[in-house]
C-alpha cells in the first residue's frame, strides 16, 4: 500500500485523472483507508473546483479603448512602412 507521502506525490496527477489504472487503484485504496488523506484529497479537489469557478471579468472600457487605439496606431505604422518605396533604388 502507498504511504501518505507517496499518496501526496501522486495527488496532483490523480486529481487530473492522468495516472495509469494500476496506480489509480492504489491511490484510491489509500484514500479509502486513510481518513487524513481522504480529507486532503477531498479538500484539494474542492480547492480546484472553487478556482475553476472564478469569473473572467470584462476588460474595463477605458482599458479596452487604450488598447484599441494603441493597436490602431501599430496597424497604421505597419501599413505605412509596407507602403513606403523600397530604400536604395
Amino acid at each position: 500500500m502507498l504511504t501518505c507521502k507517496q499518496f501526496l506525490q501522486e495527488l496532483s496527477d490523480f486529481l487530473d485523472e492522468s495516472v495509469d489504472p494500476a496506480l489509480r487503484a492504489e491511490v484510491e485504496r489509500h484514500v479509502n483507508q486513510c481518513p487524513n488523506c481522504w480529507v486532503v484529497c477531498d479538500t484539494a479537489r474542492k480547492t480546484l473546483k472553487v478556482f475553476k469557478g472564478m469569473d473572467a471579468h470584462a476588460v474595463p472600457e477605458h482599458v479596452q479603448r487604450k488598447l484599441l487605439s494603441a493597436l490602431e496606431k501599430a496597424i497604421a505604422d505597419k501599413k505605412g512602412v509596407d507602403a513606403s518605396p523600397p530604400v536604395g533604388h
Binding site: L8, Q9, L11, S12, D13, L15, D16, S18, P35, N36, V39, V40, D42, T43, A44, K46, T47, L48, V50, F51, K52, G53, M54, D55, A56, H57, A58, V59, V63, Q64, K66, L67, L68, A70, L71, A74, I75, K78, D82
Partner: protein, 208 residues
C-alpha cells in the same frame, strides 16, 4: 422557442491567424476581442496589480501584432499569446520587487513545501456561503501568497485551464517542473482555503 435568425460564425483561430498574417487587421482585432478577457485576467493574477495588468494586456497584443510573422503555427496561437503575456507579467513583477537577487522563475526546491498541516473537512459549499465578491477576494488573497513561480503555473493550468503540455510550452519549463510546481501550488492553496473554509469545531484530532 424560436431559432436564432443569424448564427455567429464559429471562432476559427487558425483561419483568423492566417488572415491576420496576410495583413487583415480586422482578423487580428477579432483575435484580440476573443482573448482579451483571458489575457487580462491572467495578467491580473500573476502581477496582482490592476495597473500592471493593463500594461501587460496592451504590451502582449502589441508584441503579438508586431511579431505575427514569427508565429509558426507549431503551437496554438493562444499558447503563444500566453507565453508573451507571462513574460510581460514577470517583467512587471521583477520591476516591482526591491530584491532582484532571487529569480522569479527558479524556486529553490527543498521539497519541504510539499506539506499538509491543515486536515479538516470544509463547511458547506463556499460558493453558497460567500458572495461572489467575498469569494473572489479570498481566492485572490490565497493566490497572492504563492511564490510567483508557483503562482504562474497554477494560474495557467487551473484558472486558464491550459493542459500540462501547453503550460510547459508557454513557460518554457519541463513537464516534470510544471507538475512539481503545480503540486506545491495546489497543496499550498488547499492549506490557505482550509483555514478559511474549515467546518467550525472540527479539528485534526478528530481524524487521528
Amino acid at each position: 422557442m424560436s431559432l436564432p435568425t443569424t448564427i455567429a460564425p464559429p471562432f476559427d483561430e487558425a483561419e483568423l491567424v492566417a488572415k491576420a498574417k496576410a495583413g487583415d487587421s480586422g482578423a487580428f482585432s477579432d483575435l484580440v476581442e476573443h482573448y482579451e478577457r483571458r489575457v487580462f485576467r491572467m495578467a491580473k493574477q500573476i502581477t496582482q496589480n490592476e495597473e500592471d495588468a493593463e500594461d501587460v494586456l496592451q504590451e502582449t497584443f502589441l508584441k503579438a501584432y508586431s511579431h505575427l510573422e514569427d508565429f509558426q503555427g507549431n503551437s496554438k496561437f493562444y499558447t503563444w499569446l500566453v507565453r508573451i503575456a507571462v513574460n510581460e507579467a514577470l517583467m512587471k513583477l521583477r520591476k516591482r520587487r526591491s530584491d532582484k537577487t532571487v529569480p522569479l522563475d527558479d524556486p529553490i526546491d527543498t521539497g519541504e513545501d510539499v506539506v499538509v498541516r491543515e486536515i479538516a473537512v470544509w463547511d458547506d459549499d463556499p460558493e453558497q456561503k460567500y458572495s461572489r465578491e467575498e469569494l473572489g477576494e479570498i481566492l485572490n488573497e490565497a493566490i497572492q501568497s504563492l511564490k510567483p513561480a508557483y503562482r504562474t503555473v497554477f494560474v495557467l493550468r487551473d484558472i486558464e485551464e491550459l493542459s500540462i503540455e501547453e503550460t510547459s510550452e508557454a513557460l518554457g519549463l519541463s513537464i516534470s517542473a510544471v507538475k512539481s510546481r503545480l503540486l506545491r501550488a495546489r497543496l499550498q492553496l488547499r492549506e490557505k482555503l482550509t483555514r478559511q473554509f474549515r467546518r467550525k469545531g472540527d479539528d485534526a484530532l478528530a481524524y487521528l
